[in-house]
């Protein structure tokens, strides 16, 4: 198991890079770090402690910590969904830390459920129905940031460019003819 100190260091250094703070409540913070540690152990990646993971990397990619929703959430509400990452004014206690709404699109959750249901249905083959996408059908594409050139190979472009902080709208798809799967 990854040591808790390592999990903490990783979060601290990421917070620093982005100009965020970690939750100032020591117990609350420890709960979240232990949650990340536990998820890394049971799924193989540190998925969000406050969301239910499917256990399938392709379907959980957007909720691996730091999740896709962190940057827009900290910008809009001052904290990420779990309140692990915090904006300065919240850290300093100028604004109270309260729960924020879920930004993750519902269809991403629903898809994870559908795949789990299908996996079950496949056990007795006569009742199996193809009703939902396999993880392999998560269509990844190449996207580039028109502002700085950063390239990412994922289902959707990031909400905010991790390099130059341009908004999602700055991203454009790169059309490629060769297959990148495998």
């Amino acid at each position: 198991m990854m040591a808790l100190d390592k999990v903490r260091q990783r979060a601290e250094s990421d917070a620093k890079t982005y100009g965020y703070y970690l939750n100032p409540d020591a117990d609350f913070l420890k709960d979240l770090l232990e949650g990340l540690q536990k998820n890394e152990e049971r799924y193989g990646y540190p998925s969000c402690p406050c969301r239910v993971a499917s256990g399938k990397l392709e379907l959980d990619r957007d909720i691996i910590c730091p999740c896709d929703y962190r940057d827009p959430d900290v910008a809009e509400f001052g904290t990420c969904y779990c309140a692990l990452y915090i904006r300065k004014d919240m850290y300093e206690g100028k604004t109270p830390i309260t729960p924020i709404p879920e930004r993750r699109p519902q269809e991403k959750q629903t898809r994870a459920y559908a795949v789990a249901a299908e996996a079950r249905a496949e056990k007795p083959p006569e009742t199996a129905k193809v009703i939902s996408p396999e993880p392999s059908q998560v269509k990844k594409k190449l996207w580039y940031c028109r502002q700085c050139g950063y390239v990412v190979y994922r289902e959707d472009p990031p909400y905010v460019c991790p390099i130059c902080k341009a908004k999602r709208e700055m991203f454009a798809e790169i059309a490629v003819s060769t297959s990148l799967s495998g």
């Binding site: 232990e34 969301r51 729960p99």
Partner: protein, 94 residues
């Protein structure tokens, strides 16, 4: 579905929390109810089977709430999304 019951003096309302075992807001919700001696049951959704998980999701959605955690179900009718102290207090009259 395995519910864990947490006894308390105040059992005026039937309270069920759908929680995630690793979620800090969920822990705070449980602690808040315990601190106020409210009797409640909870299910850690991430520790249930896929089938139960699906049932829970449907139950939450049938009450008009999004499937996020914690969700607090009061008297089998009202769903409160998230650790919203004000709404919880109001619903439980505490």
């Amino acid at each position: 579905m395995n519910k864990t019951k947490v006894p308390g003096k105040n059992n005026k309302h039937k309270v069920l929390i759908y929680a995630i075992s690793t979620c800090a807001w969920c822990k705070m919700t449980k602690k808040f109810l315990s601190d106020n001696s409210v009797e409640y049951e909870y299910i850690d959704v991430d520790l249930t089977s896929d089938e139960d998980h699906e049932k829970i999701r449907q139950d939450i959605e049938s009450k008009g709430a999004p499937p996020s955690y914690p969700t607090i179900i009061v008297d089998g009718k009202t769903a409160i999304t998230g650790f919203r102290k004000d709404l919880i207090k109001e619903a439980l009259e505490i």
